[in-house]
Symmetry: C2
Subunit: 212 residues, 2 copies
């Protein structure tokens, strides 16, 4: 069965999609249509998964008290993480906006079900981390699918995974892979925000590719 052939116009738009995908921390208040969100999650489920285990589990966090708790967790983790930031960067760290937890209309926690029997253990004996990696690819698929619809996604990693799992009372074996903010971005840019603010810049691929 021959697959679809993708033309040059699609290739160009696909590169634009990659180039304009941002880690968004500034959201508009506009709500996200629940049917649109369902469609994005259905696309995310087309992601690759080790052994076809589909271990991704999403939790839509809507309760204002839970959201406020996650924000508290973030603020505590952010303060703790300062220890890992070089001294000369700590001023910039303090001034940086690192999440859009207050503004984003949608909070979505992406867990990995490490206890799933789906996939029958294929491919995870020597690399069990591939279950989390499958969830990461579902998140990345969601990210691109959202961008295509004009939505922005922000990944908040300054959180304690175990604390979030407890707070959201998820089933045993579910481990947090990513905590996501979703909504319409306040602005768009072909440059990462960390580049615009001077935190870091993207570098050319010298040294990324070795030959053996």
């Amino acid at each position: 069965m021959p697959g679809p052939v993708f033309d040059a116009r699609f290739a160009e738009s696909f590169e634009q999609l990659l180039a304009w995908r941002r880690d968004v921390r500034h959201f508009k208040a506009d709500p996200v249509d629940p049917a649109l969100l369902d469609g994005l999650l259905a696309q995310a489920a087309l992601a690759p998964s080790v052994g076809l285990s589909q271990p991704w589990r999403f939790v839509l966090v809507q309760d204002p008290a839970l959201r406020a708790g996650v924000l508290e967790d973030f603020e505590r983790s952010r303060a703790e993480a300062e220890a890992g930031i070089p001294v000369e960067k700590r001023g910039a760290y303090g001034r940086s906006k690192l999440e859009g937890l207050r503004e984003a209309p949608v909070h979505l926690a992406a867990f990995t079900d490490t206890a799933t029997h789906q996939g029958h253990g294929l491919g995870v004996f020597s690399m069990p981390e591939c279950l989390h990696y499958s969830t990461v690819m579902a998140v990345h698929t969601l990210w691109l699918a959202a961008q295509l619809r004009g939505l922005g996604l922000g990944w908040v990693s300054i959180l304690q995974p175990v604390a979030i799992a407890q707070r959201l009372a998820v089933p045993a074996g579910w481990e947090l892979t990513a905590y996501l903010c979703l909504g319409y971005p306040a602005f768009e840019s072909p440059r990462p925000e960390l580049e615009s603010t001077g935190w870091e810049q993207r570098r050319a691929p010298a040294g990324w590719l070795l030959r053996r």
Copy 2:
């Protein structure tokens, strides 16, 4: 600066791209143009990365002796992993083709530089695994970009990461995230091969989405 707007035709093709992306284990012998591979890696580098750390490091494995060694590692890991497969699935496990290491024209090992200073430690204090997750998103970007060009990618996770790092003599701090086969697929299908062979099937998203 307003970003590009993606039309319905692009959205439809993008869904086709997701739907036809396979984990390929059957490759044609046709070589992959090195310039095309360079272009795919450049697109992979547009992936998100925690703190803009771009921690992905690719190793193009060309030496036949090294490739044969990786295949040996796979075969040993495959035999060891049988212990993690349910008894009733072991016959099917033994019969399954789980990699295309012999046929694929390109072997690409994707490492994560866990010792990088790029990103200045942002976002990895509480979740250091996000460095690997960044590499996973670069791999997934490469996967989609390859599919767009008619190429197929296969992820081999039945390997011991430390053994591969030693075999390929990578710098200290580089940890294996994924070992990839790349080439033109022997056939295309909208169904995962693990589904066609009866190993596992994709399931509807009931139970994937909780509300809190």
